[in-house]
Amino acid sequence: MTSLRPPPKLQRFARPSHHVFLRKSRASALNAYPRALNLNISAKVIVPDIITTNGAVVTGKLKTVSVNNKSLIAWLNASPTVQSYITNNITHSAISNSITAGSYFVWDMLTEAVWVTNKNGFTFDVDNPVSFYIDYDEDTVVGSAKLADVTGAGSEMDVTGVKFYFDDNNGNILDPEYGEGVFNWTYGAVSGGVQQKTISIKLSPAAYYAEVNGVSGITTTFNASGSGSSAGLAPFGSLDEPYWYWATH
């Protein structure tokens, strides 16, 4: 697809060394936390609509359209790159060359990639054949937390910068820039070494560039929200600080 748009910034934030957990490896610690979050994406995009010529008068109009999960899946299904990837890589019996209806997105907080999946077991990393990720800035995190020393129960709210990027390699791009990302964590009481942990997120990247059918547009609003939970082994014992607090201090 020919486009005047510069290539996407593939360089993401590197995770600083001080984010490596001291007492356990990062992988084992994160396994106890929800890392795959169900994701809802909604955006409004302004695109050129109709250009009419009446004699010497040319009239151009703009149209605001809505984008949600279903729109993104429709885009991906129309993308030859995605069709080819599914055909050649997905061997699931229910899949031919497109994402089935009822599929949904999950965000992998560890890799920052967005996956598509459904209840039939079909799943793949969309960021592999095309571009689909949410980047968060671990260098700048502020937050508040309240955690009971004895039970480990509590809650935490962290705010950081988030960026979203979607490109179906078929003329459709959503590229809002860094904006606010709110991460709300809830920690249950540790019982028998097991702790219920949930997270809900609300991401509001700043409106910026978009392309629809190869034509430039602008995202006017952009929101993503999601949640996930896990009831795994309490990762640090009941006296430890919450994840984000500890990871950033």
Binding site: K44, V65, S66, N68, A74, G102, G188, S229
Partner: protein, 207 residues
């Protein structure tokens, strides 16, 4: 005794007894509260009546963890319903717009956006009146506005481009690029001529 004497003696006695009876009746009426309009003072000092004992209901206290699990379970259900296209799923989503838990109500508002049906708009607008929570009001109105837009997945927006259209688009981009280059060259030429003129005038003024 003569009858006159007897009457004279009994009459004062009967009068006295009559007066005593009248006095007693009056005293009894005064101490009894009026039945039609009881005095407020008496009502206010009366002891609070003991309420009838309520039937014993064994109610399980929900722990914060159980509440969180229940909320997440309902949010997961909303997540499934929103990806469907059937009226039943929409009905369930709209039902959760009035859930007791605010977190679920907000998730249901988001679910209406993902479900993408304009049929949800009247309900969303109607519910704005039922809450004083400005965050919820804003979310309801934003969702109604979102659903009123043309969805990107609409066939009028998401038409597959023909090879001719793609070629035309590429030609358009190439032409725009050529015009841009021409403008840049013209601008550069103008700047060169202006700077040359400026140098000449500077040189002239210096002489």
């Amino acid at each position: 005794m003569r009858p006159k004497v007897v009457i004279a003696l009994l009459l004062p006695i009967l009068l006295f007894l009559g007066m005593v009876l009248l006095f007693k009746q009056h005293a009894a009426n005064a101490s009894k509260p009026a039945e039609v309009a009881p005095a407020p003072a008496i009502t206010s000092v009366a002891p609070t009546p003991t309420p009838a004992p309520a039937p014993v209901v064994v109610k399980k206290t929900v722990t914060p963890e159980e509440r969180e699990v229940a909320i997440n379970a309902e949010k997961d259900r909303l997540f499934e319903w929103e990806m469907n296209d059937d009226p039943e799923s929409l009905s369930k989503i709209l039902g959760d717009l009035t859930h007791a838990e605010k977190e679920i109500r907000l998730a249901a508002i988001e679910a209406t956006k993902q479900f993408g049906s304009k049929d949800a708009i009247p309900t969303l607008k109607e519910l704005v009146k039922n809450t004083d929570d400005t965050e919820e009001q804003a979310a309801l109105l934003e969702a109604a506005d979102f659903l009123s837009l043309t969805p990107m997945s609409d066939s009028s927006v998401q038409l597959p481009r023909t090879p001719e259209q793609i070629q035309a688009e590429q030609q358009k981009i190439a032409k725009a690029e050529a015009r841009k280059q021409a403008r840049m060259q013209k601008r550069a030429g103008n700047q060169d001529s202006q700077s040359a003129a400026g140098q000449n005038s500077t040189a002239g003024s210096g002489q």
